[in-house]
């Protein structure tokens, strides 16, 4: 595959390095800062170019018009990553664009402009912490951004209003559904007759923003 990587910082350079090590890809890395470029050029040689990847002529010099199979916008600047992604997708028809989100508050802008998938270190860390720290009663396992759905896990304890009830008796929020119940190490698909018990780990699929409603039905009275 031909992969164009914008941004030669720690994230971009390591991503490009890993791809090249794989041996199956053609990679071009674009770095704007001259000092960083000179340091990386020793390693990447002809596979790195100096320039601002939000400039159209720089992208064209790096072969964006071919177009690449993947463009990864991994600079430390969210505005730049947004513009690179839009140019790649909409001007050159790049089939797959991945963008890095540095400040999680900018995620909404990426969503608004249809840039997906995005990667965010902060979001990844938060998901890990949620998973590891038990006071988070509802854990985000997977975000299906394009589908506007997410998969979460909740733990039913003995005080939970859902304990002892069948799935069909629950007043689940619209746009949500229970997927499976994990009990004593065994998982089963949740159907209407499935009875929830204390200690169950329940997987649910729902539209983002419905977490609190789901929490109310399953966990808090």
């Amino acid at each position: 595959m031909y992969i164009l990587v914008a941004g030669g910082g720690k994230v971009g350079a390591n991503f490009a390095r890993t791809l090249l090590k794989d041996g199956r890809h053609e990679v071009t890395l674009i770095e704007q800062r001259r000092d960083r470029f000179i340091r990386l050029e020793r390693e990447f040689e002809h596979q790195i170019q100096l320039g601002d990847a939000t400039e159209i002529y720089v992208l064209e010099r790096a072969g964006i018009a071919r177009p690449p199979d993947v463009v990864a916008a991994l600079t430390g600047d969210d505005e730049d990553n947004l513009i690179i992604s839009q140019l790649a997708k909409e001007k050159y028809g790049v089939p797959k664009v991945i963008a890095r989100v540095n400040d999680p508050r900018n995620q909404a802008h990426f969503d608004l402009l249809g840039i997906s998938p995005t990667v965010s270190a902060t979001r990844g860390l938060m998901a890990l912490i949620e998973h590891e720290v038990p006071e988070h009663d509802l854990v985000h396992l997977l975000e299906l951004r394009k589908e506007n759905l997410e998969i979460v896990e909740v733990q039913i304890d003995e005080r939970a209003p859902a304990a002892g009830k069948r799935v069909e008796q629950l007043d689940l929020p619209e746009g949500s559904r229970l997927i499976s119940i994990m009990r004593n190490g065994h998982a089963e698909i949740a159907v209407g007759a499935t009875e929830l018990q204390a200690g169950d780990q329940v997987l649910a699929i729902l539209q983002p923003g419905k977490e609190d409603e789901l929490r109310k039905v399953l966990l808090k009275s």
Binding site: T54, L82, I83, R105, A108, L113
Partner: protein, 143 residues
């Protein structure tokens, strides 16, 4: 009529002052506090300290009921993103965006963003000035 001017540097501040003189209710946004001093001691319009990428800042500055939004920070990409947010998220009908790079200005103009490129304007004016010199052909100078 309410106008929002995002980026209160040399361009933004003078634009804000001019709109104010023309009777607009103007709020300027800039991430630097010094920017307020560009508006002078008698500024009676609004000023919000913060970054235009922050939607809370935009709301505080009144983007939801602004009749016009001018985006003129010193970053092309920042301006393009804020302009699209104003247009698409806040459904603002009059959004004008300063973009110094002619290539990006043209691409986003085609996509429906009203971009103004001072570089292209400068090139046109400079060209016209050169043409206006009426330089004679070289051979007439040697005779």
């Amino acid at each position: 009529m309410k106008a929002l001017v995002i980026g209160c540097g040399r361009v933004g501040s003078n634009l804000a002052l001019q709109l104010d003189r023309e009777g607009w209710d103007v709020t300027a946004v800039d991430e630097k506090e010094e920017a307020l001093s560009r508006l002078g001691d008698h500024w009676t319009g609004g000023f919000v300290l913060g970054h235009g990428m922050d939607t809370d800042v935009l709301r505080e500055a009144g983007i939801e009921d602004a009749d016009a939004v001018v985006v003129a920070t010193d970053g092309d990409n920042t301006n393009i993103v804020i302009g699209q947010v104003a247009q698409q998220r806040f459904d603002n009908q009059c959004v004008v965006v300063r973009v110094l790079d002619p290539a990006r200005a043209e691409f986003y103009r085609q996509r429906g963003l009203r971009t103004i490129c001072p570089t292209s304007v400068a090139i046109d004016v400079l060209l016209d000035s050169v043409r206006a010199c009426e330089v004679r052909p070289a051979e007439t100078a040697t005779t």
